[in-house]
């Protein structure tokens, strides 16, 4: 006969409400773990999906996801001729915030080396990839931009031609994909007045120099478009993505690129490690501490509830002892209730999380190993929580029954 189940049956309302409370607490513990997993997933999503074997970034920097990285766009031509390299693509990444419909719209802008890279690797849920050099973008659904929507960024209008789902950056902002030239135009857009002032300043600097006095035609050049001045630097991009030839020796390619002092080369794993160590680590530790605290709180709450339930039936326990029940029968009654409370709480947490977590603003990723480990923790905590009640029960004298 299972005494624990029968006691619960008799106090079903109290058990259900208590277990619901424990379940909500465990859901938060589960959610904390899920948020951490979600952070990692979102942080490494792009690095995983972009399909590059090596990332070439500005020398001594940790790459575009950790800090500002600037390399010349024509670095891709230098990289392309290295033996073993099949493909080199420019890559631009930056975050911008605009207003759309009166609400802030934050997006992570990714520049694709069109026409080599038209975003065909991007997992679309609607629309198509980039099919022209300008004024098109692929946007994640989290941004709320429907297909065909036109948004003004800088001085130009861009049309949403493709949609992804769940592609977000490390900050949880939706990813957008433009051609590199559009991404740069958006990044370096400045107001017309600033352009005019810069041109006037440039003309004045040339006019003050010997060259300007000797070559008056240069003054018109200096006051014209920046792109029309050959002496100006080529555009800067965030990184160059390298795809190796099948069977190529990645170490050999890295050795060659490693001799170039203006760049640093990272493998996919190194890039992911930098991302996780730099951006996610503190969040991970913070969430981890919260989880530990919540688990301790859950254990204390279960312990107190079980202790209270035990106090309520001390007389029954004394009676069981008087009629000869072994300690394991009495301990089992309390332990089983604690375990049942933990197990039901865990089930409630899982069910609630299953329906609630998708509505959270950041991804909450619950993975089977995390569920298993939390389940084990719940079992351990429930066992620990029952000890107080068992201790109390085992101290009860059987003759308590005879008193009054």
């Amino acid at each position: 006969m299972n005494l624990a189940i029968r006691d619960i049956r008799h106090h079903v309302g109290r058990f259900v409400f208590t277990t619901l409370g424990v379940g909500l607490l465990l859901m938060i513990v589960m959610g904390m773990g899920g948020i951490y997993r979600g952070l990692i997933h979102e942080a490494t999503l792009l690095v995983d999906r972009v399909g590059a074997d090596l990332w070439v970034v500005q020398g001594t920097t940790r790459g575009p996801f950790a800090e500002i990285s600037r390399v010349a766009a024509n670095l891709e031509d230098r990289v392309r001729v290295v033996p073993g390299v099949a493909r080199a693509r420019r890559f631009v990444s930056h975050t911008l915030q605009r207003e759309q419909g009166g609400k802030p719209l934050r997006m992570v802008v990714q520049g694709l080396a069109w026409p080599d890279d038209q975003g065909d690797w991007v997992p679309l849920v609607a629309g198509r990839g980039l099919r022209q050099a300008h004024f098109e973008l692929i946007a994640d659904q989290s941004l709320g931009l429907p297909l065909g929507e036109k948004i003004k960024l800088g001085k130009d209008l861009y049309e949403v031609v493709g949609q992804t789902r769940g592609l977000v950056g490390t900050g949880g902002d939706g990813l957008t994909f433009f051609t590199v030239s559009d991404a740069l135009a958006i990044q370096f857009d400045v107001p017309g007045e600033a352009v005019r002032l810069e041109r006037a300043a440039r003309r004045a600097r040339v006019a003050d120099s010997d060259l300007g006095r000797l070559q008056p035609l240069l003054l018109d050049r200096a006051a014209g478009l920046s792109s029309g001045i050959p002496a100006f630097a080529t555009p800067q991009v965030s990184a160059i993505l390298v795809t190796l030839k099948p069977g190529a020796d990645a170490a050999a390619v890295r050795r060659i690129l490693g001799t170039w002092p203006d760049i640093t080369v990272y493998s996919i794993q190194e890039q992911k490690d930098l991302l996780l160590a730099g951006m996610v680590d503190k969040a991970r530790r913070q969430l981890g501490l919260f989880r530990v605290l919540l688990i301790i709180i859950s254990t204390i709450i279960i312990a107190l509830i079980i202790y209270t339930l035990t106090l309520d039936k001390l007389r029954d326990i004394a009676l069981l002892k008087l009629i000869g029940a072994r300690n394991r029968v009495i301990g089992g009654l309390i332990l089983q209730q604690a375990l049942l409370m933990g197990a039901c709480g865990f089930g409630i947490a899982w069910c609630l999380g299953f329906y609630l977590f998708p509505y959270f603003p950041r991804r909450v990723l619950i993975e089977p190993p995390d569920l298993v480990s939390l389940g084990i923790i719940v079992i351990l905590c429930s066992t620990l929580a029952s000890l107080l009640g068992i201790w109390k029960a085992l101290r009860v004298e059987p003759n308590t029954v005879l008193a009054g």
């Binding site: 029968r6 039936k313 029954d316 000869g324 059987p398 003759n399």
Partner: protein
């Protein structure tokens, strides 16, 4: 292993002494009590409050070790002074049944389960335990209430279930502590007659602590306890001396 000899007295207490406290706080609850209850015998234990009845009962129930003296149950020595000669809890489980002033049924178990649990903790398989519990409830006239929780039973029915629980493991000794105190006269008498029936039909020794003088005729013998001493009343039909 506990060996109880079937033709031995249900309980034999020799020179039992129980002292609480030490020095100037010392209180002698029982002085050199000796008694013997045979199988199939029902004995009433009378005495005023504070006379040592409950102390004697708890000592005989192996839950309150005496300071001195010996106790043998079913012929087996179980206490020698404060020293237990058997595993007290296991011995109670197998050989002693208890009935209290209040029925003390476990509130979350049905009448049937309250009896069944006593059998199952004595390692009786669940199916057999259930059948025996049903038989006992039927024997005591509460079979139709087997699936009711204690809350749904009357006081008399609850006490009958408690008696069924006490009988569950076919004990050689039943100890009852004022079992009719919370029952009205007619019901109290019914319960006492039930004890007598159990003692005579099931060959158990029954010791009933009571104040109820209306049921004196039920007992085979009457013991009076006064100031920790036991005295057997010569005429069981006579009134209590106190």
């Amino acid at each position: 292993m506990n060996v109880v000899v079937s033709d031995a007295p249900a309980i034999e207490v020799t020179n039992l002494r129980k002292v609480y406290g030490q020095g100037h706080t010392e209180v002698v609850a029982i002085r050199a009590a000796t008694l013997r209850i045979g199988r199939g015998e029902i004995v009433g234990l009378f005495g005023p409050s504070g006379s040592g009845k409950s102390t004697l009962l708890t000592a005989m129930a192996l839950i309150n070790p005496p300071t001195a003296g010996r106790i043998a149950i079913g012929g087996q020595p179980v206490m020698d002074g404060p020293r237990a000669l058997v595993d007290a809890r296991a011995f109670r489980r197998q050989h002693i049944g208890f009935v209290f002033q209040k029925p003390n049924l476990i509130p979350f178990l049905t009448a049937l389960e309250n009896v069944q649990v006593a059998l199952e903790i004595n390692d009786t398989p669940a199916r057999q335990a259930r059948q025996r519990a049903l038989d006992l409830l039927g024997y005591l006239g509460v079979g139709p209430r087997a699936t009711n929780l204690p809350d749904a039973l009357s006081g008399g029915e609850q006490q009958r279930v408690a008696i069924a629980r006490a009988l569950a493991n076919d004990p050689s000794l039943i100890l009852a502590d004022e079992p009719t105190a919370s029952l009205d006269g007619a019901l109290g008498r019914q319960v006492m007659e039930l004890f007598a029936k159990v003692a005579h039909e099931r060959r158990a020794g029954v010791l009933v602590v009571t104040h109820d003088h209306r049921t004196l005729d039920v007992f085979d013998r009457i013991l009076d306890v006064e100031d920790g001493a036991i005295r057997e009343r010569a005429n069981p039909e006579s009134d209590v001396q106190q």
